[in-house]
Symmetry: C2
Subunit: 239 residues, 2 copies
């Protein structure tokens, strides 16, 4: 496959402690698949400076595009922006364009742009701002890394801002068949099918429901005719 | 904190394509927190041999314990066991104890232990088996890596088998306060509190509901008296 590749970095103690169940990864995965971008790896790390910097550098160097979520708010545990700047050796300070966005927003709502809120205008040198139609405080893009908020409504709005700027590949087409047999009963013929259609991705996802084992077989590829052909063979085998 | 550390590796194309929303990570995170083990990092990778091997080696060398989920079934895309063996330079083959478990199970249920099912008895040399009370096919432990199934009911049963064998630390205690103010209004005093209680972890998790911004403040630590003291101060500030 020649689709562009992507990775995601989720930043937040609350996910790793089990307090919060992450929702952003699943959302982004679906959006990227529709857009023809292959999400290849996700990492979830704590609010830890060294870990964030190391993960950003590793992912940015390996994949075409990286998305981060979390850690860009006004509180003491929001350290993502400074870590991104450090990861790319850039300086970071309150930037006038980001400050102006916040100033207008808080003037409108009769709130004070205090020192804490001003932290959300700290933008690494040379970064492009990402529009935040939900709560104004912007995300930003440095090189191939898009830095976005962790609050799901804001994250989703920022993804919508960024996606049209990405070059997508051919959207991945998929068809699936639910087979009410244990994987052990279908693995042999399925492996032969996968060998005959090595240009496609054929996955088997087992489940157990009311004590009965079954599997969803998902056939994915960018060539619709090939996906159809494999699906026809699969249905003949197990239909 | 001196609690033992852990990482998790989720293996599966279906998570990265957005087709399936992972449930195992959130479950494991909660169990480890109760058990006094700090989950420090999670990685999600595709069914890709080189990526699995690299991730297992990196996580195994960095953390006290590693948990994997996914890729140990009977189908062609189940490559985890072979990757684990390769990551530790061990040989892998059908092992008699694992084979005997499967043979008894399929004899009982009148099914055939065919070539595909026999793949689930492939165990790296020197590994200890992990009990699977749900569907028999075992997980296994190699060095500090516990290799478990991706089907949530089986994953959860295997976690229950493994957890009692781990040395836990002091369980992390947490208290939280829901504050109906934007983070920008509370960040200043909250940062001062975090500085005064630097032995605790004080996190701010913003939310937006019906257009109103608020934050859950979570104070975590292993010393209950200190958590209480910080919580009292927090309530005085924003109660």
């Amino acid at each position: 496959m020649t689709n562009p590749t992507a990775a995601m970095l989720v930043i937040g103690d609350e996910i790793l402690s089990g307090r919060t169940r992450d929702a952003n990864m699943h959302f982004l995965a679906g959006e990227l698949t529709k857009h023809g971008v292959d999400l290849r790896e996700v990492r979830i790390v704590a609010d830890d400076r060294e870990m964030i910097i190391a993960a950003v550098q590793a992912l940015s160097g390996t994949y075409d595009t990286v998305f981060t979520s979390g850690g860009i708010g006004p509180t003491h545990d929001d350290i993502t922006a400074d870590c991104i700047a450090a990861a790319f050796g850039r300086s970071i300070d309150v930037r006038s364009d980001a400050r102006a966005l916040l100033q207008a927003h808080y003037d409108n709502s009769g709130q004070e742009l205090n020192e804490a809120r001003l932290r959300m205008a700290r933008i690494p040198d040379g970064a492009a701002l990402i529009d935040n139609p939900v709560s104004v405080a912007p995300g930003f893009t440095v090189e191939n890394v898009h830095v976005m908020a962790g609050v799901p409504s804001v994250f989703q709005a920022m993804v919508a801002s960024v996606l049209p700027t990405l070059t997508g590949g051919a959207p991945l087409l998929s068809q699936s068949l639910r087979i009410m047999k244990g994987e052990g009963d279908i693995a042999g013929p399925l492996g032969a099918l996968a060998a005959d259609f090595s240009d496609l991705s054929i996955g088997s996802y087992p489940f157990q429901k009311d004590g009965v084992f079954g599997a969803n077989i998902v056939i994915r590829g960018t060539d619709g005719a090939r996906v159809d052909a494999a699906m026809t063979r699969l249905a003949e085998m197990f239909g």
